[in-house]
Amino acid sequence: MKLTLGPLQYYWPKQQVIDFYASLADAPVDVVYLGETVCSRRHELRAEDWLNLAGQMASTGKEVVMSTLTLIESESDLKALRRLVENGLFQVEANEMGAVRLLAEAKLPFIAGPTLNVFNAETLKFLAASGATRWVLPPEASREILAGLQAGRPQGLETEVLAHGRLPLAYSARCFTARRFNLQKDSCEFKCLDFPEGLRLKTREGEAFLTLNGIQTQSAKTYNLLIDLPALQASHVDFLRISPQPEGTAELIAIFRRAMAGELTPQSALDAATPWLTDGACNGFWHGQPGLELIAA
């Protein structure tokens, strides 16, 4: 199994983004996904900045993939998408069907992202025939669903599974971070910059439940499959994805590496990761249970 660093879900100042990736130049991840996938208003890094960053990360020997926006609304969103598809250097992760169309038309191999709703082998075969060389399991899918997909997986198609990060649960036209401050999305004052790990939404009993991250809603708990590593290995997963967070990403990568190499037991790996699992860990989706649950392997 190989390790990937998924696209940054949050909105950080440009220098923080550059420093973050620079700090991971020597980190043992095989693939790095870059680009803005959540909100088209986020512009600390422009398209050329992302591509420059991609060049720098590629020069460290990592495979670099550019990820597309998940929710396309406007013509300018499409323009940015076309530009990404035509970048000429890096593979692209398609996060909605418009991207799939453009990539297939250009006869470019692509990665089928986690929001394409791949729940059955027929869909997988269709995407592979359209040019997908790798696909990412939707985070809400269980290991049972994965097993069905793996059994019908076309030859050569690689499988990637989110193994660490707050769960991307929903996308909306509305910005919930702006809403918290009684702002409209079109004049949001880029409030997301103030919340490097999103805004915690709690129940009225004070239980951290969800995370508001602009137009995206995440879990409050962090999805983590360290204790399920043996099952992931048995499921013939090729890539495990770690989602970037402001603190602890390098440490988490190291913990995953050691656990994958058998130097840490799954449980001791999870224990070691605990300092970076603010608001707790969950793995219910993997077990076919409510996503917020943490189930022993």
């Binding site: 998940t70 929710l71 396309i72 609304e73 499409l78 909605e96 069907m97 418009g98 991207a99 799939v100 169309r101 453009l102 297939a104 394409l116 709703n117 729940f119 059955n120 082998a121 027929e122 869909t123 997988l124 075969k125 269709f126 985070p139 809400e140 049972e144 669903i145 069905g148 997909l149 059994a151 019908g152 769960l167 649960l169 929903a170 996308y171 909306s172 036209a173 509305r174 910005c175 919930f176 918290r180 409209q184 999305k185 079109d186 915690r200 939404l201 709690k202 129940t203 009225r204 239980e207 439940f209 969800l210 508001l212 809603t217 219910g284 989706f285 249970q289 409510p290 996503g291 917020l292």
Partner: protein, 335 residues
């Protein structure tokens, strides 16, 4: 105006289907009694007998029947969804409304004559995505997720030969349909795979000294004061705390109502308007269908001079969630 403009109404059962047909629907949409559709609720939907009766009733009155098979099959239960497509084709429905790419591939190969609509659950928000489904599966119509502004809807229409259907009235998904796992996260029941959101089996109404609480799988969704009526705990319509403020953090209990936008929607070439509510009563379907029929006929007649009657708006408000209405994403400030 030469192009047709269809009123597409919900039918959770045969009485609702008849109510829709009798009150002026051009199309009714319905589902089977399982997780192959996004309103997989107890006591709802159609078996073979009801389906045959419903199709006959509708077709005798020149009304179309659309079948929603708009959830995502998994490999282990794949044949349940293909059987549902077979069944829809066998019964001679006017179109199947699909979301899953694999299932669309099956339907278009097996039944090339079966008209396909792309469900809102397909999350296609751009003409590039819609045209992809057209090229690959020959879809004839796409239902847009409730995320685009009016200008964005128009931009889609200008760039695709696919008919565009939009939501006009009813319960409002704030999230992009097909891209929401909130219910799955809280309850394990997934709109995408199980066809239900915030399921009744996970709901508890609990009386406490602080007021009535509504819980979903134990999670406190809202708490109501003495003067408030406790609403159903749909996860995204609860009150939560964010940064020391308690409010409807995602959306208020409210319904979408675009009646006032009818002339604009017609002028930009929208071909059909959908009423949400397969889980609602036949009386709801009758009332809402009747009002929208009158409104569409008036808008066709009056064009830009059309204004919704106050009585229509008042009656629609009474059957709205939380007795409140919104223009949703069609109105940019909502975003």
């Amino acid at each position: 105006m030469t192009a047709s403009f269809e009123l597409v109404c919900p039918a959770g059962g045969l009485p609702a289907l008849k109510a829709a047909v009798d009150n002026g629907a051009n199309c009714v949409y319905l589902g089977f009694r399982d997780e192959t559709n996004a309103r997989n609720f107890n006591g709802l939907n159609f078996d073979d007998k009801n389906l045959a009766d419903g199709i006959k009733y509708a077709h005798d009155r020149k009304v179309k029947v659309l079948v929603a098979l708009n959830t995502f099959p998994q490999s282990a239960n794949w044949s349940k969804w293909t059987a549902a497509v077979d069944r829809a084709a066998r019964h001679g429905v006017d179109a199947a409304i699909l979301a899953d790419v694999g299932l669309m591939d099956y339907a278009s190969r097996t039944y090339p004559q079966l008209r396909l609509h792309l469900s809102v659950q397909g999350s296609a928000t751009s003409y590039e995505a819609i045209n992809f489904y057209r090229e690959r599966f020959n879809i004839q119509r796409a239902v847009l997720p409730r995320v685009l502004s009016l200008a964005q809807v128009e931009q889609v229409i200008k760039n695709t030969p696919v008919e565009i259907e939009v939501f006009g009235f009813g319960g409002l998904c704030v999230m992009v349909e097909g891209r929401c796992a909130l219910s799955a996260y809280a309850t394990g029941v997934s709109p995408n795979c199980n066809g239900a959101c915030s399921p009744a089996k996970s709901v508890r109404f609990v009386d406490t000294p602080e007021g009535q609480e509504t819980r979903l799988n134990g999670i406190l969704i809202d708490r109501f004061g003495k003067d408030e009526r406790a609403g159903y705990p749909t996860l995204c319509k609860g009150r939560f705390d964010v940064d020391d403020e308690t409010y409807y953090a995602i959306e208020e209990p409210t319904s979408l109502n675009t009646l006032q936008l009818l002339p604009e929607l017609m002028a930009m070439g929208v071909r059909a308007i959908k009423i949400e509510g397969r889980q609602r009563s036949p009386a709801y379907v009758a009332q809402v269908t009747k009002i929208w029929r009158e409104a569409i006929d008036a808008a066709r007649r009056d064009g830009d001079k059309f204004t919704p009657k106050a009585a229509w708006m008042a009656d629609l408000n009474k059957v709205s969630e939380g007795q409140a209405q919104t223009l949703g994403a069609y109105y940019r400030p909502w975003k």
